[in-house]
């Protein structure tokens, strides 16, 4: 697969390490959320057959974490964004 890196352009997926569903961005706050909320966050997945937003790390590249939107049936990659930008857009900060 080739990942369209938002900074570096097309890059071989071989350079990346996969983590999983981009919903992992939405980590609950440990001081307010309890076990049930964390359990759902960490363990349950939509696991769609189709478009999937997912986290990839450019380990053998520029070390950026990306959110890649990819079709899990065809492996076609629709887009890739910096995960940091996505996280900020979802309200994450410090």
């Amino acid at each position: 697969m080739i990942i369209p890196h938002p900074i570096l352009g097309p890059r071989d997926a071989q350079e990346f390490v996969y983590l999983g569903d981009a919903s992992l961005i939405d980590r609950p706050d440990g001081m307010t959320a309890g076990i049930e909320v964390f359990h759902d966050y960490l363990y349950n997945r939509d696991n769609p057959a189709g478009l999937h937003r997912e986290l990839w790390y450019h380990e053998q590249g520029d070390r950026s974490w990306l959110v890649v939107t990819r079709d899990t049936v065809t492996h076609e990659i629709v887009s890739a964004e910096l995960a940091r930008d996505v996280a900020r857009a979802r309200g994450r900060s410090k």
Binding site: G20, D21, R45, N47, P48, T72, H75
Partner: protein
């Protein structure tokens, strides 16, 4: 019709005119007591044991494609019970015992062949870990033994003992491990279930679930609605897709695992072997092909195919372990979709919907589990109680912190 050597001879002498269809192609009835979704190994085994052991009437298996077309038809055929953790080992040992009696049980030669499985050891830490494992196996009534480097060399002199990047120091061996002719497992169970009146319905895809007041009434399919008192889902690889019909999200991701077979070669490797310093495991089929594989590709996929980096990684492992295979040729590669669960272990449990039961999350260990999975799922469906060897395979183990994490990788499915 009962199969035997005499029958084969008799048919040979009379032109093979007497062989009957191995299963019927019945039209779906309006309703069943039990509907099993998924005509792969686990679904067929479930139906078989339900019909045979629990004497239940009116059972159907719904298969979206052809019988045995799931992972039972695309795996590397290994059976073993060399598990570490309490939640797993009794179950897989139960499965291995069922394998050992399977041919007699369903009168079909699935070629269960216990030629031994060897896990190679390359470091002292690995030896410690495999010692822990071997002892856990023995405490569970399974067999395990340590094989020294010299013993191993006598068994497999062609391994890279003298020029290895990571030296081979010995192995953990389970002699009762081995291989089975995978398609025959599906066919044997299908035949046995069919003979006991189970309707095996091919080309029948579940497209929805009818649930009222928290209770399942049946399933919508491409061949119409089929009512059911109880529905058991055994569709590993597609678990999330099917259970989404019931509004459930699962602790499962679907991943592709590639597997490979070489051209047919004269006998070379007797048992099953796993490399401990790279991603490579291998056995040789009765036809002579080296059947081998490695790690999953690592990204969510429903594509039943993988990519080059993993193929190369597997080949590198193979060449590092046994440099004699350089001139053997890889003949065919394929991919299966794995239910990769959050701790690497399966789920056989009731669900939040009354009458809906789930069997999945087999990661890439599903084939060897087929008999016990079928038996335990049948047990659960018939009695509403988990089978004693499968009590740990609950959904709520993640909520309660009772994960069964053989590899110690945590909640990241692609690492299991």
């Amino acid at each position: 019709m009962r199969y035997s050597g005499l029958r084969v001879i008799a048919e040979a002498l009379t032109g093979h005119k007497g062989w009957k269809p191995v299963w019927r192609d019945p039209a779906p009835q309006a309703a069943y007591d039990y509907v099993i979704v998924g005509g792969g190994g686990h679904g067929l085994a479930t139906a078989y044991y339900l019909a045979k052991e629990f004497k239940q009437a009116r059972i159907a298996v719904l298969e979206k494609g052809y019988l045995g077309g799931g992972n039972v038809g695309r795996n590397t055929t290994i059976i073993r019970s060399n598990y570490l953790l309490d939640g797993n080992e009794p179950f897989y040992e139960f499965s291995l015992k069922l394998w050992e009696g399977l041919e007699q049980d369903f009168n079909y030669n699935a070629m269960v062949s216990q030629r031994g499985i060897i896990n190679l050891i390359h470091t002292d830490a690995q030896r410690d870990a495999f010692t822990r494992r071997g002892n856990a196996m023995i405490l569970n009534g399974a067999d395990a033994e340590m094989v020294s480097r010299d013993q191993l060399r006598a068994m497999y002199p062609f391994l890279n003992f003298d020029n290895a990047r990571f030296p081979i120091k010995g192995a953990l061996m389970q002699r009762r491990g081995g291989t089975v002719r995978h398609d025959a497992v599906a066919w044997g169970y299908a035949r046995g279930a069919d003979m006991r009146g189970v309707d095996l319905i091919q080309n029948c895809e579940v497209t929805g679930m009818r649930i009222e007041n928290g209770r399942i009434l049946g399933v919508e399919t491409t061949r119409g609605f089929i009512g059911a008192k109880k529905v058991g889902v055994a569709v590993a690889g597609s678990s999330s897709r099917v259970m989404a019909h019931a509004g459930m999200r699962l602790p499962i991701e679907s991943h592709v695992l590639q597997a490979f077979v070489s051209e047919g070669l004269k006998p070379l490797i007797d048992g099953v072997m796993t490399f401990g310093a790279g991603h490579f495991y291998v056995s040789q089929s009765d036809k002579g092909g080296l059947v081998f594989g490695g790690d999953i590709d690592g990204y969510n996929s429903y594509a039943q195919r993988g990519n080059l980096p993993v193929i190369e990684d597997v080949a590198e492992g193979g060449m590092a372990l046994m440099p004699m295979i350089g001139r053997a040729r890889l003949l065919r590669m394929w991919g299966g979709i794995m239910d990769m669960s959050m701790d690497g272990s399966p789920i056989i449990d009731r669900t939040s919907v009354d009458g809906l039961y789930f069997n999945g999350g087999w990661c890439y260990g599903g084939f060897k589990a087929t008999p016990a999975s079928g038996w335990c799922f049948a047990h659960l469906l018939a009695t509403d109680q988990p089978h004693p060897t499968a009590t740990a395979y609950r959904f709520d183990r993640f909520l309660k912190g009772l994960m069964i994490d053989e590899k110690g990788q945590g909640a990241q499915p692609n690492l299991h």
